[in-house]
């Protein structure tokens, strides 16, 4: 058994519920964007050889991926911040134990991100098309790989009894960090997120077509099958990961009643949205699918948090941690947040006027 570091002596800077709420909120926003490059990049590339609406819909998604990455990575900062506030002793230790992989995330994102820009700027130029497509695929694959690193990290973090396997690879007790923790459970987590992401991609297509006033050349009739297919596949793939994962989680989920099924409700909701849209592709059903998918991701963000707290409860009781609450920095953040939201809406309205 390896040791678990002590919690930070500075204590928690805000009430636990507040920290958890911000963490869940941030992760939810992150999930929304992340699905669009995690699964969306591949889906967009796969749609290119088709013709008509599907190709166009795929192209429109691919074109937006740079912006999506910018906001998605940005949103990812929030849950990581609060994760480090709540569980530093687990998070830092497990990243150090697989340090090179965790470090590689930064390097790989830079490559994949510029690769995405290169793809977007050159995919339509005849002379650079082939190289661009190649780079596009490479970037998409890098993002798929990064998912593996994140799944490994989030799982190793909550299983300190596995740490000693990694601590065996050291020099004088200093960790080499050259092993990745990826195993069956991580694969299940990975697959679940991939399934969820497919439904997000479906929601993006209808969002783009009906709610963003996207290209009228994308025919809703042609989009139907794709949307239905993606939400269905999303559910199946999510289930393929969730069923065994739920079995693994059983011991931690005692006494939380139906909550444990909340995450599983999500993909069904998304499928329902997909079916409704397939029956009648219109703005109203597009809204439904988008809302259902947003809810599905929110349910997942919440359940994941419950599970994380539960899994770690055997090692640390959050409510016993020292509190060192200071109101003014919290207010600083909240006020800035509100101002930020207002300014963002103001800017977006300006953009809307400008683009019509």
């Amino acid at each position: 058994m390896t040791p678990i570091p002590a919690f930070d002596p500075l204590g928690l800077p805000a009430p636990i519920w507040f920290l958890l709420a911000l963490k869940v909120f941030g992760f939810w926003v992150h999930l929304i964007f992340m699905g669009l490059w995690f699964a969306g990049f591949v889906v967009g590339l796969l749609l290119l050889p088709s013709n008509g609406s599907l190709r166009l819909a795929g192209q429109r998604l691919l074109k937006r991926i740079p912006v999506i990455i910018a906001f998605g990575v940005n949103a990812g900062i929030v849950p990581l911040l609060f994760l480090q506030v709540l569980y530093p002793q687990f998070f830092y230790t497990s990243t150090v134990l697989q340090a090179w992989y965790w470090f590689s995330v930064i390097v790989l994102i830079i490559f994949a991100y510029y690769g995405t820009y290169y793809y977007v700027h050159n995919a339509e130029r005849e002379e650079r098309k082939r190289v661009a497509t190649l780079i596009g695929w490479l970037s998409a694959l890098i993002f798929l790989f990064l998912g593996i690193v994140f799944a490994s990290e989030m799982q190793l973090m909550v299983t300190p009894d596995r740490w000693s396997d990694f601590f065996r690879h050291t020099i004088g007790g200093a960790v080499l960090g050259n092993r990745l923790a990826f195993d069956g459970i991580d694969l299940q987590r990975y697959v679940m997120v991939f399934g969820l992401s497919l439904s997000t991609v479906a929601a993006f297509f209808v969002f783009d077509r009906h709610l963003l006033n996207g290209s009228s050349e994308v025919q809703p009739e042609e989009l139907r099958t794709l949307v239905l297919g993606l939400t269905f596949l999303g559910l199946v793939i999510f289930g393929a990961g969730a069923v065994p994962y739920l079995r693994h989680l059983q011991p931690y989920l005692k006494g939380i009643g139906l909550w444990k099924f909340l995450a599983g409700v999500g993909p069904f909701l998304a499928l329902l949205g997909g079916v409704l849209y397939a029956i009648q592709p219109a703005t109203s059903t597009a809204w439904l699918l988008v809302i259902f998918q947003a809810l599905s991701l929110l349910f997942n963000a919440i359940t994941r948090q419950i599970v994380q707290v539960r899994e770690l409860a055997q090692h640390v009781d959050l409510s016993s941690l020292p509190l060192h609450i200071q109101l003014s920095p919290i207010l600083l953040f909240l006020i800035t947040f509100v101002v930020g939201v207002i300014v963002t809406l103001w800017l977006l309205r300006m953009y809307r006027t400008a683009s019509t």
């Binding site: 906001f71 929030v78 506030v85 530093p88 830092y92 995330v105 004088g172 300014v343 400008a354």
Partner: protein, 447 residues
């Protein structure tokens, strides 16, 4: 004391930080200075009704957004990634002290993104008023993000009253906060001037526009240099005593930095007042940019090296020992306190530990030389490894070569006599094993 240490051959994991942080600093200051200049430039272009100048700014924006939104943002997250990997305890302290400062900064990042993409994608479509408003939002949010992060980085070297109070504002509004904001704002403007020279010399551009951009950017760069000097002097007056002493001790580094800044200053003045701009050609502007960057990098390096032996002044030493913890750790022994090297030894040499898990020094004589070296190595990695490698960066071998072990033991005993080093918190037998190991390793006696 709490976390495992990541071993990176040759340089040590902490040296990965500058590899990410220095490129980031060069881009993020451009994100701020460039943001301010874009806003000023867009205003100027509309005021003077100069479509050519506006067209230039549009080209600048493409380059600017691609550089700052991607590279700047990811390396920014990357710094956090690397400090957490090489110095978890420090990162945890910073996060717990300032998480809402960071959360606030996150809001400014969102605004930066929303406004940067507005400029990037809707340049032609925004009406002049909206255009200037978007640019202003960008400039303001970028500058505020600089202010916020400066509060935290300045805090690490001059923590003010914070170690006593642990209050957010005592840490954030630390003695070097304001001077650092002034210096960094100036640095951002000056560096942006150099970026712009490089940009206009690398793209195809009409000579009149080039002339105008150079003249205009130079004016702001000069102001930037002025702010650097002002902020620098102010900073010098505000730094805590332990840094003052070091500045007095290391005049060469300081002169070097000042010369680099002066070189930039002189170059900038030249450009500001020289009539013709034909000589602003690529190799020269790139060189100028490199000189300016070198000055910047030197500044950051000096700031960081002055901060040793602390990662947070008066609170936490670089090797993860809290200042208040020193006596207690000494009393218990380093290996009995530092969790991970202890776990490492417990797994390998259970015979050394009592049933209660306390290291029993009476068992030490039973160890083979190889085993003693192994223990020495663990002490080295966890007590010294954050600043020294064996033979690579800041090599310990270079420090001990030619000395005899007794002398080195004496130095280690009073390690804090060296201004850059924290106190040794081990007991004398730990000191002995450490030094024994170092000399053996230097002779190639152990792997």
């Amino acid at each position: 004391m709490e976390y495992p240490f990541w071993y990176v051959p040759g340089i040590g994991s902490p040296m990965l930080i500058p590899m990410v942080a220095l490129p980031h600093v060069l881009v993020s200051h451009f994100a701020v200075g460039g943001g301010i200049l874009l806003w000023l430039g867009i205003r100027k272009a509309y005021r003077e009704n100069d479509p050519d100048f506006l067209a230039y700014l549009r080209r600048l924006t493409r380059f600017f957004v691609l550089l700052t939104v991607v590279f700047g943002a990811i390396t920014g997250v990357g710094i956090w990634w690397t400090i957490a990997l090489s110095s978890p305890q420090t990162t945890s302290s910073l996060i717990h002290a300032f998480v809402f400062g960071w959360a606030t900064e996150w809001v400014t990042f969102v605004l930066e993104l929303v406004s940067a993409f507005g400029l990037y994608y809707l340049w032609d479509r925004l009406n002049p008023k909206a255009h200037q408003a978007v640019a202003l939002v960008y400039a303001l949010s970028a500058w505020i993000s600089l202010v916020l992060i400066t509060g935290i980085t300045a805090f690490m070297a001059s923590s003010g009253k914070w170690p006593q109070t642990h209050l957010f504002w005592d840490g954030f509004l630390n003695p070097t906060f304001l001077p650092s904001v002034v210096t960094r704002t100036g640095g951002a403007l000056a560096l942006t001037g150099l970026y712009l020279y490089m940009h206009i010399s690398l793209i195809k551009i009409a000579p009149e526009v080039k002339e105008k951009v150079a003249r205009w950017a130079s004016r702001w760069a000069v102001i930037g240099v002025g702010l650097i000097v002002l902020g620098g002097l102010w900073w010098y007056n505000a730094v805590p005593g332990y840094i003052h002493d070091k500045i007095a001790e290391r005049p060469t580094v300081v002169t070097l930095a000042i010369v680099a800044v002066l070189a930039t200053l002189v170059a900038t003045f030249f450009l500001a007042f020289w009539g013709k701009k034909e000589w602003l050609v690529a190799p020269l502007t790139v060189l100028l940019f490199l000189v300016g960057s070198a000055g910047f990098v030197a500044g950051e390096f000096i700031r960081e090296s002055f901060r040793k032996p602390y990662t947070i002044e008066g609170y936490l030493f670089s090797n993860n020992v809290y200042t208040t913890q020193v006596d207690a750790v000494r009393a218990r022994g380093f290996l009995n306190t530092a969790k991970w090297p202890k776990a490492y030894l417990q797994a390998r040499y259970p015979q050394l530990f009592t049933i209660e898990g306390v290291l029993d020094t009476t068992q030490l004589p039973s160890l083979t030389p190889q085993q003693r070296a192994d223990i020495g190595r663990a002490i080295f990695e966890y007590h010294c490894g954050v600043c020294h490698t064996l033979s690579g960066y800041n090599a310990i071998f270079d420090q001990i070569r030619g000395s005899d072990p007794d002398l080195i033991q004496a130095i280690v005993e009073d390690l804090e006599d060296h201004p850059a080093m924290p106190p040794f918190v081990g007991q004398s037998w730990e000191n002995q094993l450490l030094v024994e190991y170092l000399f053996q390793a230097m002779k190639g006696g152990v792997q």
